[in-house]
Each structure stands twice: as C-alpha cells, then as structure tokens.
C-alpha cells in the first residue's frame, strides 16, 4: 500500500515527532475541538467536541480509547498512520487523556495492523496499546468497549452510551486514530492553521483509502470538500464506471460525476457520506451486481449474530442479490431485495444492517439498467445466463 498526498496538503503524513506534550485543561481541549469544527474520521462523522463534552459530565475519571480497529476491508488509513506516523496518533491520545485526567488511555489496534511502531511510540506517553481480535463490527464503539472489558466483541444496546458507561463502567471516549492525530496537530499548531485547509463548514484534511480499478492503490491526504475527481486522479483511475464512497456500508457515485465534492451535502443525493474516506473504483470489467452481492454476502457473514433481523435478513438479501448477479430469471428478485432491505433497516443494536441495506439500495438505484438486463438474462460484462 503506497501513500500519496495532494501537493499542498501534506499534514498528517509529514508530521515530525513532538518533544513535550502540550498540557491542556478540559475546557481548552473542548474549545479547540469545537472551534476547529473537528468531526470524527472513523465513519460516523460525529462532532468530536460533543463526544468530549459528554465524558466530562461524569463524576468518574474517563477512559480514553483510540480506535484503530479498521474493520472495513477497503480502509487502510489507520494502518498507514500507525506505521508511518504512530507518534502522531499516540500523542493525540495522550494529549486528550491528560487534559481529561483520564483513568487510562488505550490504543486499540485491529488484527490487520502491525502494532510494533505504535507500542514503541506509546512507551513514554502513558498510553497502552491493545492488539485486539475482531472482524467488521469489532470497531463499532460499544463492541470495542465490550472487547476491552473482556466481553465478546459485539455491539451493545445503543440506549447505554459508552460516554456514560464504557470500559470499567467509566465514561469512555472512543475516538478514531485519525481523529486523534488531527487533534494532536490542532493542539500543536492551533485552530487557525487547521482551518487553512478544507471548507469553513467542514475544515481540515482527511485521509482517503483508494482501491479498485486504479493504477496505484493507496492512501491519500486531501482537504475536506475536495472534488471526487481530484482525489481519485492521484491514484490514476482505470476505466472507472462508479465509485463506492464510504466503503462496504457506503453508496455508489457514478464516475460521470467527478465534480461531486466529498461533503455531506454533495454526497447526500447519492445516499453516500465521506465516512472513513474509502473510495473504491469500479472498473468497466467488473459486474456491479456481482460486486455488490459479494460485499453483501461478506457483510452477512460478518454480522455479530446478535439481532434477529440482521441474522435472518442479511443472508436473504445477499442470496437474492447473488441470484440476480447469476441472471436467474426471477422477476421477483428486485422486490425481494427491497423487502429485505426495509425489513433490516433500523432494526438492530448497531448500524450494520442499515449500512448493508444502504449499499444494496444504492446498487439497485445506480445500476438500475444493469439490473434490468440481468433480469432479461444478460450481463454485458459476464455475458449470457449462467
């Protein structure tokens, strides 16, 4: 996995190690996060200041967790951060933990990431590194808290917020590795510097993991609000048809719309969001339905097997999509897929069923013509009926 940067936005990946860490008060930290308009880089894009404020409300000292689980198979940015600039993530975590008078600071590293450099960087900063197990949902906030607490790595009921009751029953602040790196830079260089990149309403930079039909897959740093085409150009797309924005839980943006800004506003019509910055390019030699069926099947397998609708609905949805990919002549398949999609949405402890349904809905919408041809028994990529 190579790394690239758009010329003038080398921030995270060019940062040098820091000497002594700035010591912030809880209020200063809160003000920095708030004024910088920093949002979570792990996927949900939640304002960081709101999370920080939530853990300062509790009576007990909080636990601060850096989330580098990176369960999304198309995301590599946390791995790149932890191997290239591990001190940036560790220092961000240490700054937050010290400001909040944390009981403990833990950097949770997923099974796919080599923790060696992070462990080395954490040694002098009072940060523990936990190299954890887990698949797609293990990075979900409550699942991560459960694993750190010695319980199975499955999500909990969302009514119990981890900011109220998390690791050891303490208020717990879970921030993505990149979010922590950004916070560390903001503490070092200030809010004005942070806002020099990006948009006023969505400032700073982000890491994007680019894969699929491209010349060089890799991680690129780009200002928030960059054009989709500009960000992709650095990787050299090859015959792009569409881009899966946001990863396996994301949605498709047709390649005919390279002027789409990577903002919540511009991506909304496609049902997409920047999320964790995953951009997967679909080339003209891959059947989109085949690809979506593969992803849906994977996501069904990755269910925590905890919530009924997810256990039962996701495999059914994936099977129907697989049959559609195989050009099974069943005109009922699209409505079956639709029904399953609606039946799983909003009916689980975490967003796994919703995210899966979102990706499937987007596939059916963006590739509607392709779906029709499949129903007629033909696929221009895979040929006639199998």
């Amino acid at each position: 996995m190579t790394t690239m940067t758009l010329s003038d936005t080398r921030r995270l990946l060019a940062a040098e190690p820091m000497g002594t860490l700035p010591r912030l008060s809880p209020d200063t930290l809160l003000a920095l996060a708030d004024d910088a308009g920093l949002t979570g880089r792990g996927g949900a894009g939640f304002p960081t200041a709101i999370k920080v404020r939530a853990v300062t409300q509790g009576r007990r000292a909080p636990v601060v967790v850096g989330n580098a689980m990176e369960g999304e198979p198309l995301s590599y940015k946390d791995a790149v951060l932890l191997t290239r600039v591990p001190y940036l993530v560790v220092d961000g975590l240490a700054i937050v933990a010290r400001a909040l008078g944390a009981h403990e600071a833990v950097l949770a590293v997923g099974p796919e990431i080599d923790p060696t450099a992070a462990i080395e960087a954490a040694r002098t900063r009072g940060v523990q590194v936990a190299h954890l197990e887990g698949g797609f949902v293990a990075g979900q906030e409550s699942a991560l808290v459960n694993q750190l607490d010695g319980r199975p790595a499955i999500p909990g009921d969302p009514l119990v917020r981890v900011t109220t009751r998390g690791v050891y029953g303490r208020p717990t602040l879970v921030l993505n590795a990149e979010t922590l790196a950004q916070l560390g830079l903001i503490a070092r260089h200030g809010v004005a510097w942070f806002r020099e990149a990006g948009l006023p309403e969505d400032p700073g930079t982000s890491l994007f993991s680019i894969s699929g039909s491209v010349e060089h897959a890799g991680v690129v740093e780009a200002p928030r609000g960059s054009l989709l085409g500009d960000v992709l150009a650095s990787a050299g797309p090859v015959h792009p048809v569409a881009v899966l924005v946001g990863g396996f839980h994301g949605a498709w943006v047709p390649a005919t719309a390279p002027a789409t800004r990577l903002t919540a506003h511009d991506l909304k019509p496609y049902g997409a969001a920047v999320g964790a910055g995953v951009l997967h390019v679909l080339g003209h030699d891959t059947c989109p339905i085949r690809m979506a069926a593969g992803i849906a099947g994977y996501l069904a397998e990755e269910s925590a097997a905890q919530c009924g609708p997810c256990i039962n609905g996701l495999p059914r949805m994936a099977d129907a999509l697989e049959r559609l990919a195989d050009r099974v002549p069943d005109p009922g398949l699209p409505s079956e897929i639709d029904r399953m999609r609606l039946l799983v949405t909003g009916r689980g402890a975490c967003a796994h069923p919703d995210g899966t349904a979102r990706m499937v809905a987007s596939t059916m919408r963006v590739f509607a013509d392709h779906v029709s041809r499949h129903l007629a028994g033909h696929c221009e990529i895979e040929g006639g009926r199998r």
């Binding site: 199975p152 097997a305 905890q306 919530c307 009924g308 256990i311 039962n312």
Partner: protein
C-alpha cells in the same frame, strides 16, 4: 384443630408440587417461544408466572401450618437449614433445601428487571435442581408417602417434567420454523 393443620400442610404441599410442575413445563414452553394450544405466547408466560406464584403462596401455607402444628414439631431452624430435623431428617431436609432454592429463585425473578437477564437466567437454572428436590421430598416425607394416589400424582408430575425436559433437549426445540435466533450467552 391439629388434624386440620396437618391436613392443610399435606394438601398445600401436594398442590404446590403440581403447581411447580405446571410452572416448569410452561417455563420450557415460554423459553421455546412457541404458543401452546389456545394460550398466546404472552399467555404461556403469564400462566407460567401465575402458577409459580401460586406455588410460592401454597408453600408459605405449607411451611406455616407445619410450623404451628404441634404434631409435626417443626422447628424454625429446620425451615432454614436442611438436614437438622428430628423427624425423617433426610426427607424433611430435602424440603428445606427446596424452600431455600425457591426463596432465591422467587426473589431474583421478582427483581429480574433490576438484576438483568444474565443473573436472572443463571439463577433460573436452579429450578432444574429445585423441582427434583421438591419431588423427592413429596415422595419421601409424610403420611401420604407410599399411598397409591400420592404415587400416582408424583408419577404424573414426573412424566410431565421428563417429557418437557426431553423436548427441550431435542435439536428441534430451538428452531422456530426456518428462523435463526440470536446467540445468547447464559
């Protein structure tokens, strides 16, 4: 008067055994998530609970009456601690043991929303100990032990519980149609 107390003690004990048998069978049915005959799913759970609480009430009378019965000569210590009694200490002790288990299960069940499902389920497993202990106690203690009708009642209860537990152990017990149910730890 003494005769009446003695009869009351025996009668309530026997009916309580029947109640707990119903409770256990319906508990297994509740856990399966199936409706039973004319009872809806909530009906199965409701009757399970009502039968259990009725049994608890009967046991209160059962123990109370024998405590005040001069003939039974039951001491308070025998109510609380098993196997210390003067009269048939083993069979009476089983009753005391069952009473202690019943107290724990009842209190935890009533507080189930407070203690949460994990504790509730763990404690509820005790009922599989509670019922056989109570059954043996019914079989071995008292005047009616060995009588034909008492043996009949005990045998019927035993058959019902054996059948229900047997059903529970079948692989098909956990399946509701083609539905896969969530994996839940005890």
């Amino acid at each position: 008067m003494n005769e009446a107390l003695w009869a009351l003690g025996r009668g309530t004990g026997i009916v309580a055994l029947v109640m707990f048998t119903i409770t256990l069978v319906l508990g297994i049915a509740t856990h399966s998530g199936r409706s039973l005959g004319g009872l809806g799913r909530f009906g199965v759970a409701d009757v399970h609970r009502t039968a259990a609480l009725t049994g608890v009430g009967l046991i209160a009378v059962h123990v109370g009456s024998l405590l005040f019965d001069p003939f039974a000569q039951l001491r308070l210590v025998d109510v609380l601690f098993p196997f210390l009694g003067a009269y048939r200490p083993f069979w009476l002790g089983l009753g005391t043991l069952a009473l202690d288990l019943l107290a724990v299960v009842t209190v935890v069940s009533l507080l189930r929303h407070r203690v949460g499902p994990r504790v509730f389920r763990a404690v509820h497993w005790l009922t599989y100990v509670l019922w056989p202990v109570a059954w043996l106690h019914a079989l071995g203690t008292g005047t009616d032990a060995g009588s034909v009708w008492m043996t009949g009642v005990a045998a019927t209860c035993f058959a019902a519980v054996t059948a229900a537990v047997g059903w529970r152990l079948l692989p098909s017990y956990g399946e509701r149609g083609r539905t896969r149910t969530p994996r839940k730890s005890l």
